[in-house]
């Protein structure tokens, strides 16, 4: 590896770290509680629905029954109803994740004093910090792999279903 390639590599690693820090810190909806406040949160969880035929839908899970899911979408701030038969997959986040993206560039400073050992400590640092960042981002999540629709209703704003007196259009 040349010195030039080495610098390019280092720059790429630093950029990757910064991008992860940047993106990981601005994608969580405000209504999600921190992990120690899930028991007193009044809102539903954040859900992302991968639609079989149409574009994906994401937002606050409002209600779910045996036929459909109601989501207050992030983009339009309006409720959308999706038939369960149109749901390919779903992902649910019930608390704000802790962001560890900063550890990737920060911990990469250490191997610079490790001499030969940096050959081993750089990969270890990258593997561990990226792994910590990824698991941190993916904490407090469910998906259709580990959650049934029956249980999913517990994470809706209205686990009992849409109250009869409530008009979907009036939900904010």
């Amino acid at each position: 590896m040349t010195l030039k390639h080495s610098h390019t590599m280092k720059t790429k690693i630093a950029l990757l770290g910064l991008l992860i820090v940047f993106f990981s810190s601005c994608t969580t909806p405000k209504y999600l509680p921190s992990s120690n406040k899930v028991d007193v949160n009044e809102y539903g969880s954040y859900i992302k629905i991968i639609h079989k035929t149409a574009s994906n839908i994401d937002g606050e899970l409002i209600a779910i029954d045996s036929n459909k899911i109601v989501v207050l979408t992030e983009g339009t701030k309006k409720c959308m109803t999706v038939s369960l038969s149109d749901v390919k997959h779903f992902k649910l986040r019930y608390a704000k994740p802790k962001h560890y993206g900063w550890t990737i560039p920060t911990f990469l400073v250490y191997p610079f004093i490790h001499g030969y050992f940096s050959v081993f400590t750089i990969p270890i640092h990258l593997i561990v910090t990226i792994s910590v960042t990824v698991t941190g981002e993916n904490a407090f999540k469910y998906s259709d792999k580990n959650m049934t629709y029956e249980k999913l209703r517990m994470f809706a704003r209205f686990p009992q279903g849409i109250p009869p007196n409530v008009d979907l259009a009036s939900i904010k």
Binding site: M1, T2, L3, S6, S35, N36, V38, D39, V40, E42, Y43, A95, K98, Y100, T103, F107, Y110, I113, H114, G115, Y116, F117, V119, F120, T121, P123, I124, H125, I127, V128, T129, S131, V132, T135, G136, N138, A139, F140, Y142, N146, R153, M154, F155, R157, F158, P159, Q160, G161, P163, P164, N165, V166, S170, I171, K172
Partner: protein, 532 residues
């Protein structure tokens, strides 16, 4: 190498395993109040209760909530939100059970970040340990002076030679000759690879091979004053005794199982003795002693300490070393003189005393030096007794034996015919090495393969490597904080006192660093970030 990869994979797997994703199941819904009472009555910590009302409101009650089945109400302190989750009330709340659609409880998620924090803490611990090793013993991490390898894939623990270890500035330049053993050269070609495995700039003026053709059972050995002696026969060691007891097995074989001791606990300048006995010597009038040795990390510690003491004035002080002869002489004498050589004495039966013969000295902890001294004034005797006096904790000895000298000889000097730089022919490097006034600059990570043509094919040669030049140690940022010019002055002007006062610090370093250094087998092929 496999062991290191195994350890790394184990550590990484362990760290990742500790913080692997967990799925928490913490929420429960109850459609009727009986199941709520039944399932929460045995909980040690009463959870907060969410009552989802039929009209879409939600009441979140703190852990003091109660259910009154007589009045059919649930009550407690908390907050009520409307269907849009706008807070409509806070305080004491009573809700008719019939108005509740679903009750919800949640078990607290305890320390969800514990695994990740533990993983990062473990890694920080690893960083601190490796960092401490490298800060206190940079050579273990950053290498040292030019190292030469017959097998270019070997790592620095198996270096065949290390060049001009003492030449840490231009005026301290000198040539160094290292024995690289005898070889059968089949097609008259011989190669050796020079590596820069350190944070240093190597300025290499010359690299040559000195070769001497051998007949059967002949060897050529090099004396500390770079004289060469053709020898025959080999008398193995019969017995060896050090302070720790019988050390014959350690010194009898060329097996890299070395005898070394730890430094004295009260004074780094402290001698010890080793007694050797050789039996069944056939010709004792022309004997020579062969010794394979290298240094521990003690001198490395002093070099790095000295640079640390210089702190941010390292450039000024090195400029003084370049221009002031007195200072250079002091540096050459100082600690080196105080620590002394490996002194060799032979027992004189007639005078009944030990007679000093000569001493061995070669700086550097990496390559094993294979040297020889002729023994004088030995009387006819089939038994030869030898005493070695050496500074405690400074030397590692692998092998001793005796041989008979045939005559003094002069090896053939052979310059390289080609040089390869990372696999590519480098005629510029060759031009510099073969020019008397030019230097080949070798930067960290550089590897140069020198190719030589020997006079005869299919011949055994005794080979020696001649290297000349100097190197510039790169100042480490963390050394600057160790600046202590008084300590530097004491080191140069009063090495005896310095060695005594520095004992405590060195003992701390010695206890861990020696072991770490020699237990680590690093593949230096992967340490490369500079080319051309």
């Amino acid at each position: 190498m496999k062991k290191i990869i195994f350890y790394i994979l184990t550590i990484t797997t362990l760290i990742i395993g500790i913080q692997a994703c967990k799925t928490y199941y913490f929420r429960s819904n109850y459609k009727d109040v009986n199941s709520l009472i039944h399932e929460t009555q045995n909980l040690k910590t009463k959870p907060f209760l969410k009552a989802h009302l039929k009209n879409g409101d939600v009441c979140i009650l703190k852990d003091s909530w109660k259910i009154d089945t007589t009045l059919n109400i649930v009550s407690g302190n908390g907050t009520q939100y409307d269907f849009n989750r706008k807070q409509i009330f806070q305080g004491s709340i009573s809700v008719l059970i019939d108005s509740v659609a679903i009750f919800e409880t949640n078990v607290k998620i305890l320390n969800p970040e514990a695994g990740r924090i533990t993983a990062l803490s473990l890694m920080t611990g690893l960083d601190v340990v490796v960092g401490l090793i490298c800060l206190t013993n940079p050579k273990a991490c950053f290498g040292s002076c030019p190292t030469f390898y017959i097998n270019e894939n070997d790592n620095f623990h198996y270096a065949d030679a290390e060049g001009f270890s003492n030449a840490i500035s231009p005026t301290l330049e000198y040539y160094d000759i290292d024995a690289i053993n005898h070889k059968l050269i089949t097609d008259n070609a011989f190669s050796i690879t020079m590596k820069n495995e350190a944070l240093e700039t190597h300025c290499v003026k010359d690299v040559k091979v000195l070769a001497y053709p051998l007949k059967e059972r002949e060897r050529v050995f090099q004396s500390p004053t770079d004289e060469f002696f053709l020898c025959e026969k080999n008398y193995p060691l019969s017995r060896a005794k050090g302070n720790e007891g019988d050390i014959t097995a350690l010194l009898k074989y060329e097996d890299r199982q070395e005898r070394f001791s730890l430094s004295d606990e009260t004074n780094l300048s402290s001698k010890e003795e080793i007694f050797l006995t050789f039996e069944n010597i056939e010709k004792s009038n022309n004997l020579g002693l062969i010794l394979h040795f290298r240094q521990t990390l003690m001198t490395t510690y002093f070099i790095y300490s000295a640079m640390g003491y210089m702190g941010d004035e390292v450039g000024d002080i090195f400029a003084k070393i370049e221009t002031e002869k007195n200072l250079k002489d002091k540096l050459n004498k100082g600690i080196k003189k105080e620590l002394g050589d490996i002194e060799i004495y032979t027992w004189n039966e007639q005078k009944n005393n030990w007679e000093f013969q000569n001493g061995f000295y070669e700086t550097g902890p990496i390559a094993i030096n294979r040297q020889f001294i002729p023994l004088r004034n030995l009387h006819s005797n089939s038994n030869v007794k030898i005493k070695i006096v050496l500074n405690r904790g400074l030397w590692r000895i692998d092998y001793v034996s005796l041989t008979n000298i045939i005559k003094q000889v002069t090896p053939i000097e052979i310059s390289p015919t080609s040089i390869y730089n990372k696999g590519k022919l480098d005629n510029i490097a060759l031009g510099k090495i073969n020019s008397p006034n030019k230097y080949l600059l070798s930067m960290p990570g550089n590897e140069y393969k020198f190719n030589f043509i020997l006079p005869n094919e299919n011949s055994h040669y005794e080979l020696f490597l001649y290297s000349k030049g100097y190197y510039l140690e790169w100042m480490r940022e963390h050394w600057i904080k160790d600046k202590d010019l008084m300590k530097l002055k004491q080191m140069v002007d009063s090495p005896k006192n310095y060695l005594k006062e520095e004992t405590k610090n060195y003992k701390q370093y010695e206890a861990t660093m020696e072991q770490e250094f020699w237990n680590s087998k690093i593949d230096t092929k992967t340490f490369s970030y500079y080319e051309n």
